[in-house]
Symmetry: C2
Amino acid sequence: MTGPRRDAIASIDFVQVLKATSQAVEDELARLVPASQALHGRIHEAMRYAVFAGGKRLRPFLVQQSAGLFGVDTVCALRVGAAIECLHTYSLVHDDLPCMDDDDLRRGRPTTHRAFDEATAVLAGDALLTVAFEILAGEATHPAAAVRCRLVEELATAAGRDGMIGGQMVDMLAAQRSFGADEIILLQRMKTGALFEFCCTAGAILGQAGAAEILRLREYARDIGLIFQITDDLLDVLSTADRTGKAVGKDAAAGKATLVSLWGVAAARTKAAELADHAIALMDPYGPSATELRALPRFLLERDS
Amino acid sequence: MTGPRRDAIASIDFVQVLKATSQAVEDELARLVPASQALHGRIHEAMRYAVFAGGKRLRPFLVQQSAGLFGVDTVCALRVGAAIECLHTYSLVHDDLPCMDDDDLRRGRPTTHRAFDEATAVLAGDALLTVAFEILAGEATHPAAAVRCRLVEELATAAGRDGMIGGQMVDMLAAQRSFGADEIILLQRMKTGALFEFCCTAGAILGQAGAAEILRLREYARDIGLIFQITDDLLDVLSTADRTGKAVGKDAAAGKATLVSLWGVAAARTKAAELADHAIALMDPYGPSATELRALPRFLLERDS
């Protein structure tokens, strides 16, 4: 079998695996974020509206695949994936608020504050953030309490004041001053990269792997995070709202510099391809168990939504 | 020494202990919520603005005192107290938002979204909620990881969709329909009571006490929570903004029923006094180590802010 042929088959397999993980995460989320007939059932309804909005479930996929490198029980990885999806969803709900990015559309549907109201969206986001930690600390997540505590701490650090939230704070300043590429990369690492790093290292933490393994997966995550950001910026410039399911051309309209606006489309694509090569090479020690993690960078380069 | 004289001395001692705990919590929070010179330092600044706004630090006091019943290291209790204060502060910051209660004043100062801006207030609240779990999961909180996991789970449950957040959701519906006393008590138990329950049981969890002890402290917490709510409603009716440092008469203006509006001032006071007697009796098994927990109900009955 020739190289390209093998790549094409791997790509079909990859999409199948991604879809299967996505379905398993949906099922897990259905159990962990149920509806409620209580007086306050509206909060559950809003949480479910936000969390069951489709999406690739890329973050749970990263947890699942990194866990696979260390022989971790898929049930454990699935719970961590569900927790991260709750946390990721909260960040989208709050970012979409009128006082933040003021978005009406998310994945082709009204944003949570448009479908419900602003107060309910704030509370639903708060509840999704809270339940993420509840899930991680729960006994079913891992037999060792020390592992569960570490996951809580790592996620809180990645998502907190010096991670995702700090990144969102910087992003709000980005329209007011001109950022260079280094600052944009730092911003990206905080705003979205930290969560990718959590996802990729979570598998190693669940598998109680050593510091060197965690470092390697963190490096992989950094590559993936930056590829994701560059391809996101490319889609913002080149795609249509119809395809991505959200407003496009927003960064330019807001006067925000991006890596694509600074480097140009061609150079950004080259940089993303280099990062993909680097990420793939990092998976060398893991053999066949890293097949999907080797396929992911190329998948991101080729994504159209 | 006669009864009344002993009571008066106990009351002076109580205020001293409350103040000492408050100071210790301030010091702990200064370490755990530091300033930052980073690009995103504004988020740290807003967190600190919200968290260092004075207040009695009643919740950390409850943790400290319940921990004292079980011989728990005060350093552990102090960290849990700091975590709960971060979480309590987040709830105030988000509740004050224009889309929620739309308050301009909190403890005599502009609310966080007035002092900064709405987006920063949303993010500062998110960050305070996140750091609460980071603190609880940290090794310094307790030598046993299982205890730290339990604290994370219990706090997430108390503060989450079926606890504090669910209560806030119900509260938003309260102006639209007329609630009876039972519904108001349920609302109170969710909105503020669940967090009091966490504080009082946290000491027992830190001390790895049995289920019966935890149940007893939970019952005490329910009494305290309801006394707190009744006296809050009384202050809303009878006090001035100057004394409480926040807007008063708001419930009546919003057409919200309260226990005081349903029962009348005199009956509400009688009910609160009965709850105080019950709470004090619950502390019988603990002898002198429960002195402050026996003094607290009376202190709440007599508070004027």
